[in-house]
């Protein structure tokens, strides 16, 4: 038997070994359609041969643009089987962002999900000289287009079948040419600064990483997952593609981005990933609905959630608990936790991950106390995801666990976390300078995160290394630490803290429209827009109280007592990825915000009580508009440090 060192080789093997097991599912026309591994292999074979017939050569790039669709995943395997490199791009990127990737990667072929994406590609096609063919999945609305450089997925497969009729072994011959050291994928990182960088991962990187992580977690071929995170994101590529091909489990695609929650419930995944924001939103929804529930239900809920809070996580971690507690927990499972998990679609979850941002301890403990095994990990595109993973039974809300299997981690003198592993990327595509800056000659990679190992050997990450600064007093200033503390309040969606080289800390706040809107509805506060709600005195008061609460917590921290927040304002608009203020993975772009709202920051560090601001905004279709507002600035109380500074 040849070694299974590439994904196409794995696919051929899975099609034999798991011929009748389901590999993919997609809800269409209200019904779950499914494909077995054998069917997937046949689909991939026909599409790959179609590409071959259209002149796809080894080393060619196939850009993939769209939501999670089986056909788009198949096109990943198809390109790989021809020795090509798939380049998934963020589907909600505007045309210019897309152009950068298409041009930089030198893409010749594009597969786009639908008319919306085809339009975007056509808009920038003239500026991408290498681009030749655009293939689309959904035919709707595309009938009237000029088809010189357009073809549908189905017609490409037809051409593939014609080719196969003449050369039945064409696909297998191409696959046999591939090796593990070939480039497997290029993933463009959204990047909190500057232009995106194309991370090149080889087949070997991902196969070894998948094998290690599957063994570590005991994942099996009967896992169920739902692929709903962007395909351009490394997590989705590893969880929904690499691991699925290695372990042979089934990946389902939601009907549309709006139906994810319903689809989640119908699929009942056993293996699930969600960034903290999604866990947070689910919890907010639960709390909102509980507040609208009948009195008796509320009482039951709160009583049993109390029980879960006391013993739930300990039971999950396999610790000793009293007989009555176990009995009560069992009863609670029957009345509350079970139905609740079912509503959330998480009843069957054996393993759930969260990563990317810090998760609030209350949120994390809420899910764990229900008996859902949520764990944190530290991951990066450059590492094929895994750097550290928490072990079962050793899960904490403020650490990311010990190094993942096969990964070495060390802390630089500067406090920066570095790692080396079989998953380490080959290079940044066409960017040797950045590659040299990030990866040392002996294979260690700079994470850019500052952190330390605690007494149990678990890594604790505090902030981006470059963001950790100092106040003028010389005390450490970690913006993300403060922002995360603020974001744990349900009514605060986003916070941006300033303080580096200043004598105190100030913050911008974005309120959570859903949570605050619901609160306003219940308190009979009318509002017409985000801007109006954000400026409401009662909302200001609520945020004010939360900030003082954070200050009280900070006062108790020996390192961060001087980072207490002195002044704040609530922004008149939500920070948006379309405006460049957040990355596509919704992380704050500090520098851009500092630049854009310089006037507001100056006002925060003056004694002004109001500040006028004009802001340019970008609508979803790329057009621009302007909004202006008169923002209030408030002072907050700070507290005496309660811990001795050291």
């Amino acid at each position: 038997m040849t070694e299974l060192d590439t994904f196409p080789k794995l696919l051929v093997d899975r099609a034999k070994r798991y011929a009748d097991r389901q590999a993919n599912r997609e809800k269409e026309f209200g019904i779950w359609q499914s494909w077995t591994w054998a069917q997937v292999a046949a689909e991939v074979e026909q599409f790959a041969c179609g590409l071959l017939a259209m002149g796809f050569e080894r080393g060619d790039k196939l850009a993939i643009i769209g939501d999670n669709r089986p056909r788009l995943y198949w096109s990943v395997a198809a390109a790989q089987s021809l020795g090509g490199v798939p380049v998934p791009t963020y589907q909600d990127a505007v045309a210019e962002e897309m152009q950068y990737v298409l041009e930089h990667a030198g893409v010749r072929f594009v597969i786009a999900e639908n008319q919306e994406q085809v339009d975007k590609v056509l808009e920038v096609a003239d500026r991408c000289p290498l681009l030749e063919q655009i293939i689309y999945d959904d035919t709707r609305g595309l009938r009237g287009y000029d088809h010189q450089r357009l073809s549908s997925f189905v017609t490409v497969q037809e051409r593939g079948r014609e080719l196969l009729a003449k050369k039945p072994q064409a696909w297998h011959e191409e696959i046999a040419k591939g090796k593990g050291s070939d480039d497997g994928i290029i993933l463009y990182t959204s990047g909190t600064t500057g232009k995106p960088k194309g991370v090149v991962l080889t087949h070997e990187n991902m196969v070894v990483t998948a094998v290690n992580s599957i063994e570590f977690e005991g994942l099996r071929e009967d896992e169920e997952t739902l692929a709903y995170m962007p395909m351009a994101w490394v997590g989705d590529h590893i969880f929904s593609y690499a691991q699925a091909y290695v372990a042979g489990f089934c990946v389902s695609c939601p009907e549309s981005t709006d139906t994810v929650m319903t689809d989640l419930r119908e699929i009942g995944p056993t293996y699930f990933f969600a960034p903290p924001a999604i866990f947070e939103r689910l919890l907010t929804n639960v709390m909102i609905r509980i507040e609208d529930a009948a009195r008796l239900k509320q009482k039951l809920f709160h009583y049993f959630m109390g029980v879960a809070k006391r013993v739930g996580t300990r039971i999950l971690d396999g610790e000793q608990t009293s007989f009555t507690d176990r009995l009560l927990y069992r009863l609670g499972d029957l009345c509350v936790y079970g139905p609740l998990k079912n509503t959330l679609g998480l009843s069957r979850v054996r393993l759930a991950y969260t990563a990317g941002e810090a998760i609030g301890p209350e949120i994390f403990d809420f899910y764990r106390s229900l008996g859902i095994n949520v764990k944190q990990l530290l991951g990066q595109t450059e590492a094929s995801v895994f750097i550290t993973i928490q072990r079962d039974g050793e899960v904490r809300s403020d650490t990311v666990g010990p190094p993942a299997p096969g990964v070495e981690v060390r802390i630089e003198d500067s406090g920066e976390v570095m790692y080396r592993s079989p998953g380490v990327f080959r290079e940044y595509y066409k960017n040797p300078q950045a590659t040299a800056e990030t990866k040392t000659p002996d294979g260690w990679v700079h994470t850019g995160d500052a952190g330390f190992f605690d007494d149990e050997g678990h890594l604790r990450v505090i902030d981006r290394a470059k963001d950790v600064g100092k106040l003028t007093s010389g005390a450490m200033f970690s913006p993300k630490y403060i922002e995360n503390k603020l974001k744990f309040f349900p009514h605060i969606k986003e916070a941006v803290a300033f303080g580096n080289d200043r004598d105190h800390t100030t913050v911008f706040i974005n309120i959570d429209l859903e949570a605050v809107g619901n609160w306003a509805e219940r308190h009979g506060i009318p509002y017409g827009s985000y801007q109006e709600l954000a400026a409401h005195p009662e909302v200001y008061k609520m945020v004010h109280d939360s900030i003082e609460q954070v200050n009280r917590d900070l006062a108790a921290d020996s390192h961060l007592a001087s980072s207490q927040i002195k002044r704040f304002l609530i922004l008149h608009k939500q920070l948006e990825a379309d405006d460049g203020e957040l990355t596509r993975t919704l992380k704050v772009r500090r520098r851009i915000i500092a630049d854009r709202y310089r006037m507001l920051i100056d006002a925060l560090y003056s004694d002004q009580e109001r500040c006028h601001v004009d802001t340019e905004v970008t609508f979803e279709d790329g057009r621009k508009g302007k909004i202006s507002a008169d923002l209030q600035i408030r002072d907050t109380q700070t507290f005496q440090p309660t811990a001795a500074a050291n």
Binding site: F29, I31, S256
Partner: protein, 262 residues
């Protein structure tokens, strides 16, 4: 975009006059619509636009003039016959069953296509069950087409206005019409919703080949969307032609585009 090809004249309105008591709603109006065309009727408030649609689908009976649809001339027709002949419409003020789900509302659009009587359907057995499954499949295609999967099971009363309009379009499409009448499909929508709706109208026209007659106030939408525009003012046909012709027409500018009528 490829050149647009139109078929034969499928709807012809000849010298139609309609009055309610002493009030004249339409006076000697004539125009035609070719197969596969998107045809707009514009005009200030009270110009007789909605009355025109009501005449076409047989809700109002004109005192004078004839309507020819698919070669069949008629003076009087009941709405039921209009629907059976392949005319479907949406309304200016949404007319959905608010307590029913999106799916059920669109299923009502299949009513005329159902062969089994209500007793069979109540039993939901054998042929009735098979029939319902076929219709459900058709409706699911519409739900997919209009991208409303997420609200399939939501009572329409709970939906925002823009989505209700989309459901109403879905119900009209469920009847597989040859001619689709849209009464202000974009009224009360924001820019983004309008763009979505325009896209759906173009796609319906493109993918199903449906002929469309629509009334709309938003000029930029009308000029972008339609192949030909008929302008009504005080019940009279003021102009008729391509968007460019109409835009340059002096009478139109005076009566409508230039003057404030609201």
């Amino acid at each position: 975009m490829a050149e647009r090809n139109f078929g034969e004249v499928v709807l012809k309105v000849d010298n139609v006059s309609l009055s309610f008591g002493g009030v004249t709603a339409l006076e000697n109006v004539s125009f035609d619509t070719r197969e596969h065309e998107i045809r707009a009727i514009i005009g200030p408030n009270g110009a007789g636009k909605s009355s025109m649609l009501n005449v076409i689908n047989g809700f109002y009976h004109p005192q004078d003039g004839t309507i020819t649809f698919k070669g069949q001339a008629r003076k009087q027709m009941r709405t039921h016959d209009a629907a059976a002949q392949g005319i479907a419409r949406t309304f200016q003020n949404i007319a959905l069953f608010k307590g029913m789900t999106t799916l059920d509302n669109i299923m009502t659009g299949r009513n005329l296509k159902m062969r089994r009587n209500f007793l069979w359907q109540a039993l939901y057995w054998g042929p009735a069950q098979r029939e319902e499954m076929e219709h459900r499949e058709f409706v699911e295609h519409i739900i997919d087409f209009l991208e409303i999967q997420a609200i399939r099971k939501t009572p329409v009363g709970r939906l925002p206005y823009g989505l209700q309009k989309r459901v109403e379009l879905g119900r009209a499409l469920a009847a597989e019409p040859d001619l689709l009448l849209l009464d202000e499909p974009m009224a009360g929508m924001n820019t983004e919703e309008k763009e979505d709706m325009s896209r759906f109208i173009i796609d319906v026209n493109d993918d199903f080949g449906t002929t469309i007659v629509l009334i709309e106030h938003d000029m930029s939408v009308v000029m972008d969307l339609s192949d030909r525009v008929a302008v009504l003012d005080y019940g009279k046909l003021l102009a008729d032609g391509t968007p460019d012709e109409v835009r340059g027409n002096k009478a139109v500018i005076d009566a409508y585009l230039g003057a404030v009528h609201d």
